[in-house]
Subunit: 501 residues, 2 copies
């Protein structure tokens, strides 16, 4: 039932055209000085073999391959000469068995919406796309459990579920392009995590094909199963380095009967925090999102995307969403909270939305910041977890450190989860600026026991910094798991694990 | 701040005396015909070594060791001659490093409340108890994140949190004795899972000591951290076979301002299911438990524990709990639902409780079934996940199959999670009856793609049946993980993984 948007079409989010203004992206290997590992090179014989398994779904045309070699941010570029589009798990198995045998490196790819350079090849890895694996297997209305192939587009799944009174437990800006398999492989967070928890709790089962082509069926569709080690967890967030996720079983919440939004202005970050504590206490179980953005973000969405905010002149903006089962009760709770927040001076300006159109408009002010940033120039992106009280200090300190060498330094994110998106823009990529930001940002984060990747993952761009958030022993154990499951290292090489040199 | 109830004192749940009436328990090895693996035997030199590391916390007295060699159900018994009570992670490290070197087998033990024979030795394994590791490290009121040692008793933690306006995200009958480390090691489910999700989502970090004594620090206290493989997940539910959990970081929800309970009678299981669908739709986000029990369960708690139910004469009883932030709203939702359920004939009798005393009384009807069963005789316990529509058919079919050879065949459980507790009692342990139940129950469960252990784990008693819920490839992969992390197999041997013979 769920069709698939063409992956890598450049549509990030439902309304977003191709990102950024940078036309030519330097090859990753040139920019970062990495060296190709001694994998085999794709031969004519290999292409002929694949063409035989999946006729018409073997792409070798350079022009056609272009968008799948470059990430959405246009920050990294590989030079793969071959993309395969399997439709079934059996085909994925056949492909990997062959590649393993032949020592051919493989880059598993979903919607190619990742932000850390994990979803595109670094050199000439074969791109294994899930774009044609977009069938829904089953949906059980009693339990709310959906089983589907890995290439289903998140937004399509959500539309399918909404017709039956349910929703997906995750939501993110890239929903119009991203694949559920990619979401799981990267342990995507997003806008609903505050309410419905992480994929580690909502994903009930996975089907995975391992590096040697063997299929691992952990596709349970039970709310509870406590028979042995939870193997699927190892693949959630492994970014395609341990196996290729081919199918997903996921627990979906009921569609809320009532959704309300409040968009508020706060005069300081301290007030943003106090507003959060107040709303968490007063809205309780109906709170479904608490997002914040600074005034610089607002300037960018206004300037580059021509959006207008009904709330103005505040150094900080807060978006609060409620989702509940009784609109009268929900509105009463929200009004009580707003009265309290206004009367106590936590909030100086604000607007409330209950109709879908206004809700979408207000959400777009927050959701489209990522897009607005790409129009501002080259973007240095950081996705940091911190104790919530320290969250904005990192933005202030980075801004002070970089001074006029940066164009914009902005902060926004999922405050309710302690997750800051720190972004720095410049007219173009500049290695000196990068050196001024890194490892400064990582050292700062480590000092407060934060995480250098709250939800974006590690991919290519963060792998050399993983030790800021993971002790040596943990990285070593990761390497042992990798060696055990993919002894030749053919799956998404150059990603996630630091080079051992 | 949290003291610890003495582990293994026999207190299961806050009001429960030592279980059952069976005085002598046959040695596990005799009953089940297992053979001891060639581990070293504890020598006087070993005892002297441990006495030097932790003076006064080395138990060798046979009488003192007795309760720690027998499980709470009195169904399995080991013959350990040594128990160690470390206070710190460093001590656990030292113990394991020594045992690994000396090839001494170790049985990690928390509150010894497990129901599958996983928490006691099978032969003479050294019991490594977390009973003295009961310190709370920190609690952050802003984020709701608790960090504590593994031996903290669940109920003590909950009491500590309640004082600060929070609760533990899990609750179970054994709360008065069970340790949080044991809860995590067994991936305990319980009564709040429906609302707050599983430990896979709420546990944010773990500290674990591996078989060779090396410590693995994954004790992040961040809501989100996406830097690499989520190693801690492998230890959640590994039942002490991969490492010893020494500390836990866990996300705790706010204490609900308003709690209501409805205890209802239904005339058929079909009505139990329809009532669930109705209440899920009408109570939405405030539904925090949906439990059911059959009339046989009610007979047992009335007969053996002298409890009285205000609701009578129904073949099925249902307990519905709501937890919310506004008592007026919550009561209105509950009343609307009850009116609907009564008017449409889903429910024929019922009572509602809002005060704490009556709430506790009603909960005890459900929570004390386990205890009542032990008074009925020897208990054959099954903890099954099934598609919710099939849940009670297994009870009916088992009852029909066993006829008068069983004393009682009862069904109850967490219906909202698709989790049935099927229990069969007999005057005493009887191998013929066991053969009539197993593998019948497992085959029945496998036919409907259920799980043979929804929340109790595998332990000693279910390990030979794991293949009913896990494909061969998954079991094989589990064995590879075990071999990698514990190459000598010293950690909780004879448990979880099927004997390879």
């Amino acid at each position: 039932p769920a069709g698939g948007l063409p992956a890598g079409s450049g549509a990030w989010g439902r309304r977003v055209p191709a990102a950024g203004h940078l036309q030519e992206v330097m090859l990753t290997s040139e920019r970062y000085g990495v060296r190709r590992l001694p994998f085999s090179r794709v031969s004519d014989g290999d292409v002929a073999f694949f063409e035989q398994i999946m006729p018409g779904r073997v792409i070798t045309n350079a022009e056609e391959l272009k968008p799948f070699n470059v990430d959405w941010l246009k920050s990294v570029r590989g030079c793969s000469k071959l993309m395969l589009k399997p439709q079934t798990t059996a085909e994925v198995s056949e492909v990997l068995r062959y590649c393993y045998e032949r020592n051919l490196a493989v880059n598993p790819q979903g919607g190619n919406t990742g932000l850390v350079g994990g979803s595109v090849p670094v050199f000439d890895e074969i791109i294994l796309s899930t774009v044609l694996m977009n069938r829904i297997t089953s949906f059980d209305k009693v339990s709310g459990i959906l089983v589907c192939q890995a290439g289903c587009v998140l937004e399509k799944l959500n539309e399918y579920l909404e017709e039956q009174g349910f929703i997906m437990p995750l939501d993110l800006g890239a929903k119009g392009s991203c694949h559920i398999g990619g979401n799981v492989a990267t342990n995507a967070g997003g806008l609903r995590l505050l309410r419905y928890g992480s994929l580690r709790g909502t994903v009930l089962g996975l089907e995975v094909v391992l590096a040697d082509g063997s299929a691992l069926d952990c596709l349970a569709s039970l709310r509870k199963d406590n028979t042995g080690y939870d193997l699927k967890q190892l693949f959630i967030g492994s970014e395609g380095t341990l196996g290729v996720i081919t199918a997903v079983s996921i627990l979906c919440p009921q569609k809320p009967k009532s959704v309300n939004l409040a968009f508020l202005g706060c005069q300081s970050f301290a007030k943003v925090l106090e507003t959060f504590a107040t709303c968490r206490a007063m809205l309780g179980e109906i709170l479904s999102a608490y997002e914040f953005m600074d005034e610089k973000c607002m300037e960018l969405v206004e300037r580059h995307l021509k959006l207008t905010s009904p709330v103005t002149d505040s150094p900080f903006y807060v978006l609060i969403e409620t989702s509940g089962s009784n609109s009268t009760h929900d509105e009463e709770k929200l009004n009580n909270f707003l009265e309290q927040a206004m009367n106590s001076g936590l909030v100086t300006d604000g607007t409330v939305a209950t109709d879908e159109k206004k809700i979408k408009m207000l959400w777009s002010l927050r959701e489209r910041i990522t897009e607005a940033l790409t129009h501002d120039g080259y973007v240095y992106k950081y996705d940091i977890s911190l104790p919530v009280g320290k969250l904005y200090d990192l933005v202030t300190d980075t801004r002070a450190r970089l001074g006029p060498s940066a164009k914009s330094v902005v902060g926004y994110g999922h405050l309710g989860d302690g997750n800051l998106h720190l972004n720095v823009t410049a007219e173009s990529y500049n290695h000196f600026l990068l050196d001024a930001i890194e490892p400064f940002v990582y050292e700062w984060t480590a000092r407060y026991n934060g995480s250098i990747s709250a939800e974006h993952g590690v991919g290519f761009k963060k792998k050399q910094f993983i030790q800021y958030s993971k002790p040596k022993e943990a990285v070593h154990l990761m390497q042992r798991f990798k060696a055990m499951l993919d002894p030749k290292g053919i799956l998404n090489p150059y990603k996630m694990l630091p080079s051992s040199s």
